[in-house]
């Protein structure tokens, strides 16, 4: 799995590419540690190029959400149908601090609106 770090409307954006499993979820964890500071209110994960995720990756997403819960939210961009089913099974889709966006444009529009 490759991780590309950038920003979307000043919000950290991690573009993930490849399978996320128990062998490489530490890479995602480290990348998130790198972009999140005590002031970070939101983080975006672009999952468009992620075909597979297991509990290794889901654990990292849940831990990040817990970290942001008091002050903001975590967003997933373009998860495929199978990944979305797993996000649902672990309860992320009903978490008020978790957002799913169809694409980057939708995420960008949401951020612009939130910025007011």
């Amino acid at each position: 799995m490759k991780v590309g770090i950038s920003n979307l409307e000043e919000t950290p954006l991690l573009k993930l590419d490849g399978d996320i499993d128990h062998s490489n979820c530490g890479t995602l964890e480290k990348a998130l540690e790198e972009v999140i500071d005590p002031q970070t209110q939101a983080v975006l994960l672009d999952l468009e190029s992620v075909d597979y995720i297991d509990s290794g990756g889901l654990s990292v997403i849940l831990a990040t959400l817990r970290q942001l819960r008091g002050r903001g939210w975590l967003g997933a961009i373009a998860p495929n149908g199978n990944v979305t089913r797993l996000l649902e099974i672990v309860g992320l889709l009903v978490d008020p601090h978790f957002r799913v966006f169809a694409d980057r444009d939708e995420a960008k529009a949401y951020l612009a609106k939130a910025a007011g």
Binding site: H22, N82, I89, V90
Partner: protein, 143 residues
């Protein structure tokens, strides 16, 4: 209702080094088997996740002292089963594990994604996890 003909019966074993870097190869094995019995993409994904979780548990908890992990795929009648057997001893959660409350999702995922999950203690003291999907589900249910 007449049940459809059973699938061809077979058993195949995949042997991998006991290391998480082998999980991708194990998933390719699962996909190849699932394609042989013409499962759809969702069921293939479910099996890849469930088998991967069982293997990750075996690697983490049981240590796989032999240095190898074996995944057996068995197709019998209307059922495809993956059997993951480890020979190591179960290790209780470590302090590090308790500090990470989101761990331990593997078992709930296996149960949510599979039609049947079972665990057994092997005579050697290891653990065997069996993960099954029912093939031709409608036909199976009508039996």
């Amino acid at each position: 209702m007449i049940a459809s003909a059973a699938h061809r019966e077979f058993e195949k074993v995949f042997r991998a080094r006991a290391d998480t870097s082998e999980l991708a190869a194990i998933r390719r094995f699962v996909e190849q088997i699932a394609l042989e019995v013409a499962l759809d993409v969702e069921r293939i994904f479910d099996l890849k996740v469930a088998v991967s979780e069982a293997c990750a548990n075996a690697l983490e908890h049981a240590g796989c002292e032999s240095g190898w992990l074996e995944v057996c795929a068995r197709c019998e009648g209307h059922r495809l089963t993956f059997i993951i057997t480890d020979r190591g001893l179960f290790k209780p959660p470590s302090a590090e594990r308790r500090e990470c409350p989101n761990r331990g999702m593997g078992l709930p995922l296996m149960v949510a994604l599979m039609d049947e999950v079972s665990f057994a203690r092997t005579p050697g003291g290891g653990t065997q996890v069996s993960l099954s999907v029912f093939l031709d589900k409608d036909a199976t249910l009508s039996l």
